[in-house]
Symmetry: C2
Subunit: 348 residues, 2 copies
């Protein structure tokens, strides 16, 4: 069995959760659901039964390195890889892969976003283990974890398979975020799954795919091939990373590959990408309010109230609104309009 | 002409403006309207053309003494009289009167709350001067300033006169806060004025009235008559003040007096006692929002947004609501329900 690695992608800035997540404190470091753990901490602990602590890598922005080490004190300094700027997931994963190869010529790698929710960990472990086992016996396989959809969600991409079947199956195609009508047909068809952004493959498979589909990226990293895992790695990355194409692993590799697989999972997954999804997953009081922090809702229904520790709040007379106070910034808005948050913040 | 004194009553705790005003920072020290000056500072400056700085006294709670001196650096330490606890306006005024008499056997005294708004200062000066002149030539007169009502306000007490007449007229009676129907008849009748809580009298007149209507209060203070104005005054007050009856000057003196007068004034007065009155007097944007601090209203109308310096806020999708953030406390509520603020704060 190859050594197993886990790459946590933690470079996001999470502007959709303003003011909780800001550039200086993005979503992966927050405990938005009030579980007592940040998303990145939960992600780490979720993989820890499957991967030894020394085989984790976190790829993040240089600005967040210390935050990562605070949240994951089990990691050594060199396990946090620092991107000098954001270049989407393909360069991020390529960087991590080159780093792993400098330590270990043949590895099995699970790649995961840092900021997702999973509620059924035993099932998660079963699925990921199944995936790791599969890529170890299918040397070219690129696996993505599909999530059985529970609603016609328009906020996720979808994975299409030819026929609904348990276990690991080839991917027929990847679908962009659909409109509501399309999402409804996806849901009814039973052979479309949400794209979780979790990938599993061998180092061999992903490097083959990079060579085939993103040769420029490979050429860039190959220039410093011998520097990975040495004290000169960061310097090389700081010089080279900017030149990488800004491209996602989905678009750059998965959509082009002939040996891609998925498994339809059902382990209580959400990317908690919006306040609305937070509302769905948080605990509610009798009036349907999801309250975190020292806040009292009065005559208020279906609100999300998220108040920073050390503050107190009274929220009266609101229906399906968001009240979030963090880091000297306050947002009060209708939850139905939350997709505008980014624009409002720009006005500020 | 007697020396003229101004007594500023500044002991209030202003719980109706939570979270802006709290026990540790009550309304009189706030610049709620964003004029650049606190209420107490504005009150002081408003009387300064009429009374020399050394003839001001501020009566406040011991806890606020340093705040008073910060806001009114022109005052000497001994010009801030400290009540050890709240005992309403009659004991407050008695204390100030005894203190003045220790300095000056015959004085003219204007007594004013610390936290009111006046927009027409020249007219204010004309009215107060007229009052001071009057009490200096009418040695028993107790004057109260009436305000010509502009609406059927149910939040103020009223002063009734027998017939509407310009200038200084005898008071027929004092009326408690009326219900709306009564307030409408008051407004229509033209001989009812809002009770501003501003009083003018000679030291002789108010002491005579105290002796006649509140003899117990006089007996209490007489025990330390020779201590006022000495280093032992505070000690005496700390021992004695608790024993004073908790009674207002209106109820204890004005309603019982036979020599009470009023003048119907129109100098842009408001006690800004509620967020609603603040809304009325503040500047509005095109959507009718009164915004103070770094806050952006979006799709919001007729809101009061009051954000502490150093914070930023987005307020979206609200109609006629209050959003106030101060001192680690946040209040979001419907302006129409603001009379409940006190109860909500108790829940916190």
């Amino acid at each position: 069995m190859n050594p197993r690695y886990c790459v946590i992608m933690a470079g996001g800035i999470g502007s959709r959760f303003w003011p909780l997540s800001k550039n200086n404190y993005p979503k992966q470091f927050l405990d938005i659901l009030g579980t007592g753990k940040s998303f990145i901490r939960s992600t780490f602990e979720r993989f820890l039964p499957l991967v030894p602590a020394e085989n984790f890598l976190v790829v993040t922005n240089a600005a967040y390195k210390q935050l990562v080490l605070q949240h994951l004190p089990e990691l050594k300094d060199h396990q946090v890889l620092c991107e000098p700027m954001r270049r989407n997931t393909a360069p991020c994963i390529a960087y991590a892969t080159y780093h792993i190869l400098s330590q270990c010529p043949e590895a099995s790698i699970a790649v995961t976003p840092a900021d997702h929710l999973v509620t059924n960990e035993p099932e998660f472990h079963r699925i990921i283990t199944q995936g790791l086992d599969f890529v170890e016996s299918h040397n070219d396989a690129l696996m993505t974890i599909g999530i059985k959809p529970s609603r016609p969600e328009t906020g996720y991409g979808y994975i299409e398979v030819d026929q609904p079947r348990e276990g690991i199956v080839p991917v027929a195609s990847f679908k962009e975020k659909p409109d509501l009508e399309t999402a409804k047909t996806f849901l009814a068809a039973g052979r479309y799954f949400w794209n979780s952004g979790i990938f599993i493959w061998s180092s061999h498979a992903i490097m083959s795919a990079f060579r085939q589909y993103l040769p420029d990226l490979v050429a860039l990293f190959d220039q410093g091939k011998n520097l990975f895992g040495t004290p000169d790695e960061q310097d090389f990355i700081n010089r080279q990373f900017e030149k990488c194409e800004n491209i996602s692993i989905d678009y750059g590799v998965m959509e082009r590959s002939q040996s891609r697989y998925t498994i339809a999972a059902d382990f209580g997954w959400s990317d908690i990408g919006t306040w609305g999804s937070l509302y769905t997953h948080a605990r509610h009081d009798d009036s349907g309010n999801a309250v975190s922090g020292h806040a009292i809702p009065i005559d208020s229904q279906r609100c999300v109230v998220n108040i920073e520790p050390g503050y107190e709040a009274i929220v009266q007379g609101l229906d399906h609104c968001l009240v979030a106070l963090r880091d000297h910034s306050l947002l009060v808005c209708r939850l139905d309009d939350e997709q505008q948050i980014k624009h409002w913040v720009e006005k500020l």
